[in-house]
């Protein structure tokens, strides 16, 4: 199921059995078109996109609004169906009809712009419930785990608060704890800080930086260029449904080959 090897990074949260450097996410020639509806013409959201992410790698996707970043991220855990191409994540062929998608998704953590915490559950229950309902862990084990990850994101004192009683930044940290408690092999972040008050952005970015340092495989869509420059192993620039440029932060930020990339970077500073 996982890659060969089984080298355990001492500090890594990443599932055991993934050797760093092996291919974790393999996206090949993916095309995705949103069909026309009553109030919108059809749109090509992904136009022949290919991307591989190695185990332990942090790939940051940047690009203007509407360029297909979210769509690409959401195809990785099959929240969005694709028209053609293949996607393989740690041996699971996501695009294969026979794949048990819920079981697969439980191995991929996703963090949303608007958190999507369960509104009728406390922070603690938000972290416990998926472990019990999906991973079939005992309540006691799930509780211990939840405590551990809430402490990691600095939210243990607020464990008994409902989402409506937490700030955006606090909710997002609980959402990250909830995803981590499932022991994901990969974490996907879709503009995790875009909906936050400026003063809470830093805490969430620090947490993401910490995860990256622990060897988590991450695909991060963000407008935080500092974060991209600092944390990314690779930066991907998307425009109009296609990957226009890809390389180390140095290559993309200092030495972009495409005019479109340079223009975008000059606009976002």
């Amino acid at each position: 199921m996982d890659g060969p090897g089984g080298i355990d990074l001492s500090a890594a949260i990443a599932a055991p059995g993934q050797s760093p450097g092996a291919i974790s996410i393999d996206i090949k020639s993916v095309k995705k078109r949103y069909p026309a509806t009553a109030n919108s013409a059809g749109i090509v959201a992904l136009d022949d996109v290919s991307l591989t992410v190695k185990s332990g790698e942090v790939v940051v996707i940047i690009g203007p609004s509407g360029s297909g970043k979210s769509t690409l991220l959401r195809t990785i855990n099959a929240l969005e169906k694709i028209d053609s191409g293949t996607i393989v994540v740690n041996g699971d062929v996501v695009t294969n009809k026979a794949t048990d998608l819920p079981a697969f998704r439980s191995k991929v953590g996703m963090v949303f712009q608007h958190f999507n915490l369960f509104l009728h559950k406390t922070a603690m229950e938000n972290v416990i419930l998926p472990q019990v309902a999906v991973k079939r862990r005992s309540r006691a084990e799930a509780e211990a785990n939840a405590g551990k990850f809430l402490a990691k994101v600095g939210m243990l004192e607020r464990a008994n608060n409902y989402p409506s009683q937490l700030s955006g930044g606090q909710q997002q940290r609980v959402a990250i704890a909830r995803a981590l408690a499932m022991n994901p092999q990969v974490m996907l972040f879709d503009e995790a800080t875009s909906a936050l008050d400026p003063e809470t952005v830093g805490g969430v970015l620090d947490l993401m930086r910490e995860l990256a340092g622990e060897g988590m495989t991450m695909v991060v869509v963000t407008h935080e260029m500092h974060f991209a420059r600092e944390v990314a192993d690779r930066v991907v620039f998307m425009d109009a449904g296609a990957i226009v440029e890809m390389g180390t932060p140095e290559q993309v930020f200092r030495n972009a080959q495409s005019e479109r990339t340079r223009k975008f970077l000059s606009l976002v500073g």
Binding site: S106, G109, F112, N116, H120, P130, V134, K135, A179
Partner: protein, 238 residues
């Protein structure tokens, strides 16, 4: 003068007692029949409506438009017409399993009538839950059923319960209509009693009304309680 008035009142009270004693056994028998009709209608109508509502609350290719048509048909026609179709028209189709006695026809039509309202309530409540709740659950590996059971329905219930109370009361009152297919429920018993005591129309209707109220009021109370309870332990705004 005052003595005269008291005499008059005394005579009147005695008269009311006499009438009540005479008609109450019949009214109570009718009340039991009404109770039965309402309970059966509520139970299976809620089951059918709950199922259809859960289907309609999601976007399912065939089910959603089909259920929509079912709702339009039921909500766009009077209950009396539905009852007539079920009792008088269906038997003419010639299928033996559609030949129902009046009580079965009443049960079926009351349940279908209830289901049309319950379907709308349940599907509306499900659609009122933000899309992100589904996505958050899916991304964690919940399947559709688990998401419904653990995430969506618990959040919808606070919207469903108060609306159900209104529907159930509407249904209890609608049971009075099924007397037209020969069911002797509370309203029909009242009419029969009036033939016996034509001088006390108003009073007999008052007694029947009191019995309906005695049924409807607790229903509203219970649903109100449940609503309160489902709100506690839910979101408390900081």
């Amino acid at each position: 003068m005052i003595g005269q008035f008291l005499d008059f009142l005394g005579a009147d009270l005695a008269h009311y007692w006499k009438i009540a004693a005479a008609v109450m056994p019949a009214l109570l028998k009718g009340f039991v029949e009404t109770l039965k009709l309402a309970l059966v209608g509520i139970l299976w109508g809620s089951f059918l409506g709950g199922t259809l509502g859960i289907l309609r609350g999601q976007h399912i290719r065939v089910a959603t438009p089909l259920i929509g048509a079912y709702l339009h048909l039921l909500r766009g026609t009077p209950f009396l017409v539905q009852l007539y179709v079920i009792y008088f028209v269906l038997p003419n189709t010639g299928y033996s399993w559609l030949q129902w006695d009046s009580q079965t026809a009443a049960f079926v039509s009351l349940g279908i009538y209830t289901s049309s309202y319950v379907t709308e309530i349940v599907s509306g409540a499900i659609r009122a839950i933000p899309r992100g709740q589904w996505e958050g659950a899916f991304a964690l590996g919940f399947n559709r059923l688990k998401t419904l059971r653990l995430i969506i329905l618990p959040q919808s219930i606070g919207l469903i319960l108060p609306a159900l109370g209104g529907v159930y009361v509407t249904l209890i009152k609608a049971t009075s209509i099924v007397s037209v297919v020969g069911i002797v429920e509370l309203m029909r018993q009242a009419d029969i009693s009036i033939v016996r005591f034509p001088g006390d129309i108003l009073y007999i209707y008052f007694l029947a009304g009191a019995l309906y109220f005695a049924f409807c009021f607790p229903v509203l109370m219970i649903v109100g309680r449940l609503e309160e309870r489902s709100k506690n332990g839910r979101m408390v705004r900081a």
